[in-house]
């Protein structure tokens, strides 16, 4: 009993540690005072004004554009790559996986700098270079999410479909896709998360004109953060929270349904006795 209680307290402390700063930011977003330490009463005005502030909105739309474009493109390239890598022989597979691990394991600062050195040689830094950098560090997450699903599925179902006369495209759509869908989806989600949260690599590849929320915050830190940014971040966080919650409940339901089906099959199996 005591052990149980200790465990619960430990869990609570860790999650408090993880979520306390978020709580602080949410509280600040409702603070009527511009000060970060004095509570000036409840207000919603920052939620209204954040959508009219030009610099904030520009950084916000840039962030959204980069996040969505990088996540979509990296999911596409990464999923195709995962299928290709899965079909490779052991040696090539190992080489490709090694290359995949480079941006994942290398220091962000080195990845950012090395890309900057490349980009400035051929073009000006800007939206496109940030996008390329984001796609580069996103792809590994997609591949590492999709590959296990492919291994789980095995090769035989796809080949069975071809054997039964399906075209490769049809076989992919009908057989492979349903098996890897959840992996592709979580890869996409990881890509969105990583893009949204990135600072270092964007910082080195963005050039002068472009700003994402992270890089804008970095420059604003010196002058003091405008409360509108707390409001906008709170909106983003709550949006993600709801989205992930809905997805979790949904997948829970499908899991329950699958379990029920299992149980059903189980009773059928028992029939012969």
């Amino acid at each position: 009993m005591v052990k149980k209680a200790v465990q619960r307290v430990y869990l609570a402390v860790i999650f408090l540690f993880l979520y306390l700063p978020i709580l602080v930011l949410i509280v600040l977003s409702f603070n009527n005072s511009k000060s970060r330490v004095i509570w000036g009463g409840f207000t919603l005005k920052w939620y209204a004004s954040c959508f009219t502030d030009e610099t904030i909105m520009s950084a916000f739309t840039t962030t959204l554009k980069i996040t969505v474009a990088a996540a979509v493109l990296s999911t596409l390239i990464g999923t195709l790559a995962a299928i290709g890598i899965h079909a490779m022989k052991k040696r090539n597979k190992a080489i490709m996986l090694g290359a995949t691990n480079i941006p994942l394991l290398n220091a962000d600062i080195v990845t950012g700098i090395s890309m900057m050195l490349l980009f400035v040689r051929f073009t000006n830094l800007g939206f496109v270079t940030v996008l390329i950098a984001h796609i580069t560090f996103n792809i590994p997450y997609v591949i590492l999410n999709v590959l296990p699903k492919l291994s789980e599925a095995g090769r035989s179902t796809y080949e069975a479909a071809l054997d039964l006369g399906a075209s490769p495209l049809y076989a992919f759509y009908k057989i492979t896709w349903p098996e890897i869908r959840s992996g592709v989806f979580s890869g996409f989600l990881m890509a969105v998360t990583m893009s949204l949260d990135d600072f270092s690599i964007t910082f080195f590849t963005k050039g002068a004109g472009v700003n994402t929320l992270s890089t804008m915050l970095y420059t604003e830190l010196r002058k003091g953060i405008r409360p509108e940014l707390y409001a906008l971040s709170t909106i983003l966080f709550l949006l993600a929270f709801c989205l992930l919650l809905v997805m979790n409940v949904h997948s829970d339901r499908t899991a329950v349904a699958a379990k029920r089906q299992d149980a059903h099959r189980h009773t059928e199996m028992r029939k012969p006795c």
């Binding site: 028992r270 012969p272 006795c273």
Partner: protein, 357 residues
């Protein structure tokens, strides 16, 4: 008779709403090879896990060697388990796997090395000490799992469907190995399986279970030749199970025909189950049998032919070494001694089983 080593007293266990064991009572004698046999979900594995200490019963006691061990954790029980999927430690060598229990008991290195050699010899895997777990086949892994358990010299060895993951030939070989091991070690084996052939081959005693209840306890011969109810008859080997009416002593009516049997004491005009083993059905000329029918299928099974005869609306299953052709009109005869009469099940649970058949 040797003494009772283990006693299950009024054991009840439920998972949520699902009652897996309902007031189970069972004793196990010293040096016995006892098999818990039944379909999946019958409670046999739960019984074993309660004995191993991995589950605690909701009610009841487990008495081991005169002591109540119901609340004792697994690591303090003087028995060892061989798991269904071997459960070898993947990060250890074979020798380290086998030495695991002995090291915990702080035995000397010489003692442990001796034991490892002895155990490997016993399971016919001499010289495997340094091999890794994943370099072994399923059968070899299972032998190591057995070796790992028996070096601890348990009084009782629990085996949870240990041959379930092996292929047929290997399974049969392992059955002989287990019998040999049991005789060499002279300890109690508690064996769980859903495979009736395994149970019949190896056991001294078979406990047939279904839906948390014990259906019958007896020697393999008793269980096979004199099943107490239709469930046991059907689960142990193939059977023709026919609704019948006991007209009077030594006469039973099935499928509209009165035939002689040897059973007495069922009363008059009582509904009964009539069980006839397929190898006991004789195919004779139409006029010589007590019933006429047509052969609907003939399948060669190696040792015998499996023949189905449609007679009086019932599909008779017959095992015979003689070849017949499909469509032949034949007679059916069974000598009275081979006709088993059983009371219809009375409890509701047994009824449920009955409709499932």
């Amino acid at each position: 008779m040797s003494k009772k080593l283990i006693n299950f007293v009024n054991i009840t266990k439920a998972f949520g709403d699902n009652v897996v064991l309902d007031d189970l009572n069972l004793y196990i004698r010293e040096n016995e090879f006892i098999t818990l046999l039944g379909p999946s979900g019958c409670g046999k594995t739960t019984t074993l896990r309660i004995l191993g200490g991995f589950e605690t019963p909701d009610r009841g006691q487990v008495i081991f060697d005169g002591k109540d061990i119901t609340a004792l954790p697994p690591n303090e029980r003087n028995l060892n388990t061989v798991f269904q999927k071997y459960a070898l430690f993947p990060h250890m060598s074979i020798a380290e796997n086998i030495a695991f229990g002995l090291k915990i008991k702080k035995k000397s290195k010489e003692y442990i090395d001796d034991k490892i050699r002895y155990a490997l010899k016993l399971v016919n895997l001499d010289g495997f000490e340094r091999r890794s777990v994943d370099s072994l086949s399923g059968g070899q892994q299972q032998r190591i799992a057995i070796a790992r358990a028996i070096v601890n010299e348990p009084k009782v060895l629990l085996l949870d469907e240990p041959l379930g993951a092996l292929d047929l030939k290997l399974r049969q070989d392992m059955q002989y190995e287990l019998i040999r091991l049991k005789n060499e070690l002279g300890i109690t084996f508690v064996y769980v399986t859903h495979d009736q052939e395994e149970a019949l081959t190896m056991s001294d005693t078979i406990v047939v279970m279904n839906q948390g209840y014990i259906q019958q306890i007896g020697t393999p011969e008793m269980i096979y030749n004199e099943p107490v109810n239709a469930f046991v008859a059907d689960f142990i080997g193939d059977s023709n199970i026919i609704d019948g009416v006991m007209v009077k002593d030594r006469v039973v009516s099935i499928l509209g025909t009165k035939i002689p049997c040897v059973d007495e004491g069922f009363g008059c005009n009582r509904p009964v189950d009539v069980v006839i083993r397929p190898e006991d059905v004789e195919i004779v000329k139409p006029e010589d049998g007590f019933m006429e029918g047509d052969i609907t299928s003939v399948i060669f099974k190696g040792v015998h032919y499996e023949i189905e005869i449609l007679a009086n609306g019932f599909e008779w299953l017959v095992h015979t070494t003689q070849l017949y052709t499909v469509g032949a009109h034949v007679g059916i005869y069974v000598i009275p001694f081979n006709i088993q009469i059983m009371n219809k099940p009375e409890s509701e649970d047994e009824e449920a089983v009955e409709t499932d058949l």
